[in-house]
């Protein structure tokens, strides 16, 4: 089994991106990464390989994200620029910011699912992280892509 250092180096950037996708807030995402890896560190010895280690870590991270509902934390949804067609040559940072804002307007579970899709997590693994059937995840991914496509089109990002 991998030791904690290896796990952290390999998965912390992925977990940060997923938490960013959910919260759209850098500081909150960093806090969630810390909470996630503290749980991983504390429970690593009891991890019984019943699932992939990545599934286990994603489950902890996404559950931590969902736990924010108990703390009444809200997702940051800043206004999207009115005319994005004018800023086609924007910087990668702006593109990323735009993507986060589009994702922030989705429902909670949709934000988790699309973040995992963007992390290249296989659909079967997403199903076992979220707790849905693979067929249902497939349908959901399709619908989320459609919703994102509408948002992108509305702001001139899709042709």
């Amino acid at each position: 089994m991998m030791d904690f250092d290896e796990i952290y180096v390999k998965y912390s950037p992925q977990i940060f991106r997923v938490c960013m996708g959910y919260t759209n807030d850098v500081e909150l995402a960093k806090d969630l990464v810390q909470e996630t890896f503290i749980s991983v560190w504390k429970n690593l010895s009891s991890f019984r390989n019943q699932s992939l280690i990545s599934t286990w870590i994603y489950r902890i991270a996404t559950n931590n994200c969902l736990r924010a509902i108990e703390k009444s934390k809200r997702v940051v949804t800043t206004e999207l620029p009115l005319n994005l067609a004018e800023v086609k040559e924007e910087h990668p940072e702006e593109k990323l910011h735009f993507l986060y804002n589009c994702i922030a307007q989705l429902e909670e579970t949709d934000r988790i699912i699309i973040s995992l899709v963007l992390e290249d997590v296989p659909q079967a693994e997403i199903a076992s992280i979220v707790g849905l059937s693979p067929a249902n995840v497939r349908v959901k991914i399709h619908r989320i892509k459609e919703k994102l496509s509408i948002k992108f089109k509305a702001y001139g990002k899709f042709e």
């Binding site: 904690f4 250092d5 952290y8 180096v9 912390s12 950037p13 940060f16 991106r17 960013m20 996708g21 850098v26 960093k30 990464v33 810390q34 890896f37 503290i38 749980s39 560190w41 504390k42 429970n43 991890f47 019943q50 699932s51 286990w56 489950r59 902890i60 996404t62 559950n63 969902l66 736990r67 509902i69 108990e70 009444s72 990668p92 940072e93 593109k95 990323l96 993507l99 429902e107 909670e108 579970t109 949709d110 988790i112 899709v117 963007l118 992390e119 290249d120 076992s128 992280i129 979220v130 707790g131 849905l132 059937s133 249902n136 892509k145 496509s149 992108f152 990002k157 899709f158 042709e159």
Partner: protein, 196 residues
């Protein structure tokens, strides 16, 4: 159209350089204490301590009146219910690290229901037992000390009334508002996971 691969490329440009190192996370982990768990452990500790104290008093302190014995029994029962309730709920906080999102939300929903039940039932029972228990238990002491009976016993009654009509409604109101907000959010998210 920016296809999924383009979006993935944008997604990966996120700056992850500001994350703490693994050593820093381990350091944090050593000092990190889950607030909810800590609160529950403190509550278990206090109620167990009260239970022990009451048992010791019951065994070693001579009493003549039956009211004192009944009061002791009621206080013992009240603290025992409180300790049992907290020990039972603390068990649920372990081994949920491998829950799916759906299971985790169901766990949160069950926790919310338990808290709701506690406010409406267990807390009322415990408080009732302790209130009557204290009044009965103190009666023997005050009946022997007439000089302080006049102001001491009413003081006990007033403090119990404050518990019932000030502290409990305040904490209930605060907790109920939080529970209602959590319930609303949970229902909304659980609905999203309905297999349609």
């Amino acid at each position: 159209m920016e296809n999924l691969n383009d979006l993935k490329a944008i997604w990966r440009t996120a700056d992850t350089a500001g994350l703490p190192t693994s050593a820093e996370v381990v350091q944090l982990g050593k000092s990190f204490r889950d607030k909810v768990l800590r609160r529950k452990k403190i509550m278990i500790g206090i109620s167990c301590l009260c239970l022990l104290l009451m048992l010791t008093i019951t065994v070693f302190l001579p009493t003549k009146m039956i009211t004192t014995r009944i009061g002791e029994a009621m206080l013992l029962l009240g603290t025992a219910i409180l300790a049992y309730n907290n020990i039972r709920s603390i068990k649920r906080f372990y081994h949920f690290d491998n829950f799916t999102n759906r299971e985790f939300l169901q766990f949160l929903e069950q926790t919310r229901k338990n808290q709701d039940y506690f406010y409406h039932n267990t807390q009322v029972w415990v408080l009732s037992l302790c209130t009557v228990g204290v009044l009965l238990y103190e009666y023997e002491f005050f009946s022997k000390k007439h000089s302080i009976m006049l102001w001491g016993y009413p003081l006990v009654v007033i403090s119990l009334l404050v518990d019932w009509f000030v502290i409990r409604p305040y904490s209930y109101k605060k907790g109920a508002r939080k529970l209602a907000a959590t319930k609303q959010n949970l229902e909304k998210i659980l609905e999203q996971l309905d297999e349609k």
